[in-house]
Symmetry: C2
Subunit: 478 residues, 2 copies
């Protein structure tokens, strides 16, 4: 039977998580490979998820006073080199345009891996007085980083993202902005994608190239690995100095302003898959699901069934993203198809249901069936979608809590990971980079972040035993 | 005075149209130049126009059954070369990535100038049966063409666009799609951008590289030059053959499907500027204006003025894009600032207005002042915006009609252009490329399109005097 075949097509996640992941991205038609190594086609079903994320996030950006702009995709090599740390961090992994038409370029162009340098050049042009500040800019574009090993959504040579770039009169304002946008990202993840996240600061060794401090949100995937889901950087006035951006303050003094940048990428789609997916396929949070509910007619050849389904679809569509599958595939095939595609709610309607003025609702994440009167469907659907969101969030949070281990020695870390599998390790740290490296070498986990919230549970470093400065989340990273 | 200075800053369009144009794009803060030659920053005010165009057009695409996808920005040289005409048309003007990181690429990559080849590769992968057809795809991306001379929005090395790519079981369906999307573009231009357009077919010599036929919409700019504002191509099964795309039909026979592509670009912003702008600056059609009405307080230091303005702003904002300028610049400065920025409607409110429960509305395109009762403002504003749209459209149509010359000999063409200035020339044509070239050489105008609607007004070719086959619009092109 068709449905059996499809489910069998997906590798079990317990057997091979990596293969389970790539099975899903292919079979749920999120992406397709291309002849451009490390680049992919984002197919309609995958792109619709991104469009929904964009719509939510763009609304949040505009509500916090940001404006969209668009910078060139190319950066002249001479411009990229202006900020020392930044160029060191990015130059090794950029794609170079060396020819335009048949002409060899004098100053070769890199395809943007990120756009700090372009924004800086622009700011130097347009900022003169304190009246010109702040500028709160964002752009939705793709960027290129020449990665060696790639995986769809998680690490690809080209990926879609938004990059916010802001510039402020004072360091305080810029730090406030950095934290504000981290909170916006956490809001997106938790309240729309149903992914619980740890908000924290990166350690010195893990900062963005050119940043004074880097904030990140970290999420735990189903397999116990950590995924950095978004970052927000405070630059101080380092870029402003390197690019000679100045403004005249009210006292007529020339000052270098302070900058931030922040971004999330299509990697979030990978996070959704690995947080909520199961052995039957994708499970999508309702806020970003391209189809929030699919109507599947039962015995659709019987008189009146398709008509009633179409009527209900029409009614629900003003409020929800609804699909009616009236194709001639079997109902069983359709069940497993939309399970695999992670549609949050399935609505089944057959002749007897219609006669009784009802339908059956099945929620994807837990398989629960509910009989619902048709005239209550619109209201019940809203509740069900909320239930799905909450169910997904709680399940993910439970998984993270179950897999978070507080450890006071590196031996305890090794033990905990061995006994319970990969996960977040909470451990105190002295702040010394040598200890950070030693923990990684001994245990396999690296520092993910210093959480903004979280209490010290020991006075000494997990590695050297000297006084501890920070609580750190450690993990194996994607 | 401030307002005087600003208006003087813009070159008069009668004096130097090209300089007037670049003055406007800079001073209205639509773009800023960068150190990447031929590329520009689209600034918030410019980008917001594009976002509004996108929203309208994306809605039209979805309403006609299209889905968005995202293809890689790179095309391997070997893939680009698969369709002979196509590669000949584009290869001379592409940017080449020859290095990734420090590695020299074996098969160099071109930065997409257009994405037919990528879509074809994808279609070959995912299309097998008649059940897989049609695919109606679109993407919103930027593309790169290594132009020698560039002008903001009109011709730049990188520009934003959408490219639709569809594939169909039959030629008839594909031709229907090509025409449908041309109509969508005409709808956008006429009913949202207030730009009248001529819908037509390109002559053989002016077709897209690889197309069987190319349709276009042509608009006449204020200076009498023609601008191609959108194109829609029918490919037949040429690409399908070159890329080995086949499907099995109901009779189990393998068939090459038929394709289309269609696109509009940020060039539309250039069209808006050159169709509606005047010597005071930009004039924006209400449907895409980032700010539809600006409220300017008069004597804003007087008690209650700013409060009342804020209240009105709040009320109107649920329905319109409204800005209140409560900065400490003078009202006069604000008047000319928003005139220059092309805001369709200005709302003036001073203490006496407020006392009388009224305000003054001024429409940008004709300077008309109307006193409006505050409690009728919401309704009147809708009428006024419609009036602005209609006023802009009719003015542009009038300009086009005044500048459209029907000619039966090349001497008449020369005469008409000399006497009345540049414009559209309507003239009959035998269909011979030699005559097409000769007209251009003798008169300076080239063929723009064979209009879909329009009657023959002479039996003989404007050039050779032999029997005429087509009515053709000719013009000097941007």
């Amino acid at each position: 039977m068709a449905e059996k075949k499809m489910v069998e097509d997906i590798t079990s996640m317990d057997e091979d998580f990596a293969k389970w992941y790539t099975d899903i991205v292919k079979k749920a038609e999120l992406i397709e490979y291309t002849s451009v190594k490390g680049c992919m086609v984002i197919r309609p079903y995958g792109y619709a998820i991104w469009e929904n994320i964009q719509k939510i996030l763009d609304g949040m950006f505009k509500a916090t006073g940001h404006e969209n702009v668009c910078m060139p995709m190319f950066i002249p090599e001479s411009l990229l080199q202006k900020e020392k740390d930044h160029v060191e961090g990015f130059a090794p992994e950029v794609a170079w345009v060396t020819m335009g038409g048949s002409e060899v370029l004098e100053d070769r162009l890199c395809v943007r891996p990120t756009s700090e340098t372009l924004f800086c050049e622009h700011y130097a042009n347009i900022i003169h007085s304190y009246r010109d500040l702040p500028k709160l800019y964002n752009q939705w574009v793709s960027v290129v980083r020449w990665e060696k090993t790639t995986r769809p959504f998680l690490r690809s040579r080209e990926f879609l993202w938004q990059e916010g770039h802001t510039i402020h009169a004072t360091a305080e304002e810029a730090i406030e902005e950095t934290e504000r946008m981290l909170n916006v990202y956490a809001d997106l993840c938790e309240n729309y994608l149903a992914i619980p996240v740890i908000k924290g600061k990166k350690t010195e060794s893990d900062k963005f190239a050119g940043a004074v401090s880097t904030y990140a949100i970290e999420a735990l995937m189903h397999d116990g690995k950590a995924l950095q889901a978004g970052t927000s950087h405070f630059f101080g006035d380092g870029f402003a100095k390197a690019f000679d951006i100045t403004y005249t303050n009210k006292e007529n003094k020339k000052i270098n302003p302070f900058q931030t940048s922040w971004g999330v990428t299509t990697r979030l789609i990978g996070a959704i898959i690995m947080t909520h997916g199961d052995n039957n396929g994708l499970v999508l949070p309702p806020a970003v699901a391209p189809v929030q509910a699919v109507i599947i007619p039962i015995a659709q050849h019987k008189e009146g069934v398709l008509e009633k389904c179409a009527e209900i679809k029409e009614k629900l569509s003003s409020k929800y993203r609804i699909k009616l599958d009236d194709s001639d595939n079997s109902a069983g095939w359709k069940f497993s198809e939309y399970e695999m595609k992670g549609v949050p709610v399935r609505i089944e309607m057959g002749p007897r249901d219609i006669e009784a003025g009802q339908c059956v609702i099945v929620t994807r994440h837990n398989g629960e069936r509910t009989v619902v009167a048709l005239d209550e469907l619109e209201v019940v659907l809203e509740q069900k979608l909320k239930e799905v969101h909450d169910g997904l969030y709680n399940k993910a949070l439970e998984n993270r809590e179950k897999r978070t281990y507080s450890c006071t020695t590196t031996d305890e870390i090794i033990e905990a990971l061995k006994e319970n599998g990969d996960g977040f390790v909470k451990a105190m740290w002295c702040g010394d980079e040598e200890c950070e490296d030693a923990v990684k070498e001994k245990t396999g986990v690296c520092s993910r972040c210093i959480p903004l919230e979280g209490e010290a549970f020991s006075d000494v470093c997990v590695c050297c035993g000297k006084p501890a400065k920070h609580l750190v989340y450690w993990g194996k990273a994607y």
